[in-house]
Subunit: 226 residues, 2 copies
DNA sequence: CCTTGTGTTTGACTTAAGTCAAGGCATAAA
DNA sequence: TTTATGCCTTGACTTAAGTCAAACACAAGG
């Protein structure tokens, strides 16, 4: 086993046997600063995990301009998308400093998951879970204004209960924290949404008066009064 | 082939043969509003894709409180994380309306990728790619302030070129757009960062005067892990 | 030379939301 | 009843950033 896979978050929660199996097909490679790992259109023979160092992924245009897609550091894997899809590399990879890599050859990896489908399923599960988390985070971050976040939250509760009149199970301070704001702002937002006839709130009793309006608020439009 | 997999974004870019193979193991199930699909601790016999309708995923506490984890709609798949990991379901699933599902049984799915490892690799590639995109989006969204985004951008160029003095390849209006702001704001931010001694900019010539300060400004969020 | 156009900067204003400080209100404890 | 505590609201202020409009810079063409 050439290296400990624990440093790779994607592999960390695999079972010890699966980690062992993966480690068994991995080879180590060391590159100096400035060395190229692969170039655009090279066949994707395998993917890489960074043990130490940093790798720049970039494309260069015919005019010599270069466009940096990403810089990867320790614990990250790269080039797996092209390799998994069985394509040639779509970009170049170059080491920015002395870099130690693990190399997972495509054919061996392919054989591994053929012989050991549970490893494949587990990897799919891991990626799926991380994707879920990221999607949730993006949704949370992109509803940038408090009225939008509040509207989305109330509509979620409504969807769930199937009625427009319900009781919150958080107090307003907790709700503010959950929505990523402070109680004062939440208080003012609620007042405005009451004044404008979207909702009625007394204590924890919520009544949704204008569901369509709330949906607009939660959706594209970001303003209470356009 | 019970249903067209095109409506599922996760499967849409698989090759027609792979889609066919997947469709061949899928069965359809229809549920009425309020019906339970599975409950916490049920064995994960397979995962689901929603053709029509909506499904609520929730946990209930011993006190009867319920916590909604997610509501899925058409085109989304769910329960795949537990199924891939070979675990029991960690939550309950209930239909909010009349719902038509595709069911992919675990054992058949497992056999499918054992016999057809390229399908497994392609699925891994798809998830990997989508995860990449989401991670990029989160990074972009969480650097909320313009000075932080500008600092991170300049440091990325510096990392790449290995020097503190370089020339931008965008004009300031384009740069503003790239950073998700407007030229006026960028102009003011640059003036402030000049006054405060972080950088010097004349035309497209950039000189990074205080790299440590810029790193602090960028907030470490895009920077490399230690 | 002047004109025109594009990109840049500046000023004045507006909005969203956070902070700080001060009250208000209701329920539980004394 | 009074007091205290926790929660909620309100007001006054501050900051980041966007909009609108105007001024500026400078190069290219007439």
């Amino acid at each position: 086993m050439p290296y400990d896979l624990h440093i790779f978050p994607v592999f960390a929660s695999l079972s010890p046997e699966h980690q062992k199996a993966l480690a068994a097909i991995a080879g180590t490679k060391t590159y100096q600063a400035g060395q190229t790992i692969f170039q655009e259109n090279d066949p994707g023979e395998g993917f890489y995990g960074i043990v130490r160092g940093r790798v720049k992924i970039y494309k260069s245009s015919p005019l010599g301009k270069e466009y940096i897609l990403h810089i990867f550091g320790p614990g990250e894997i790269f080039a797996e998308v092209a390799v998994f899809a069985g394509k040639n590399f779509p970009a170049n990879a170059l080491c920015l400093e002395e870099t130690k890599l693990l190399f997972f050859p495509r054919t061996q990896f392919r054989r591994l998951i053929a012989e050991n489908p549970d490893l494949g399923l587990n990897l799919l599960g891991l990626l799926s879970m991380r994707l879920r988390q990221m999607v949730a985070k993006v949704e949370e971050l992109s509803l940038k204004e408090v009225p939008a976040r509040l509207a989305a939250h109330l509509l979620l509760i409504r969807d769930n209960l199937g009625r427009d009149l319900f009781e919150l199970d958080l107090n307003k301070s907790q709700l503010a924290g959950y929505l990523g704001t402070v109680p004062e702002t939440l208080s003012r937002v609620i007042r405005r949404m009451k004044e404008e006839g979207y909702i009625d709130i007394k204590g924890r009793q919520v009544n949704l008066l204008d569901v369509q309006g709330l949906e607009d608020l939660a959706g594209g439009s970001t303003r209470l009064q356009p």
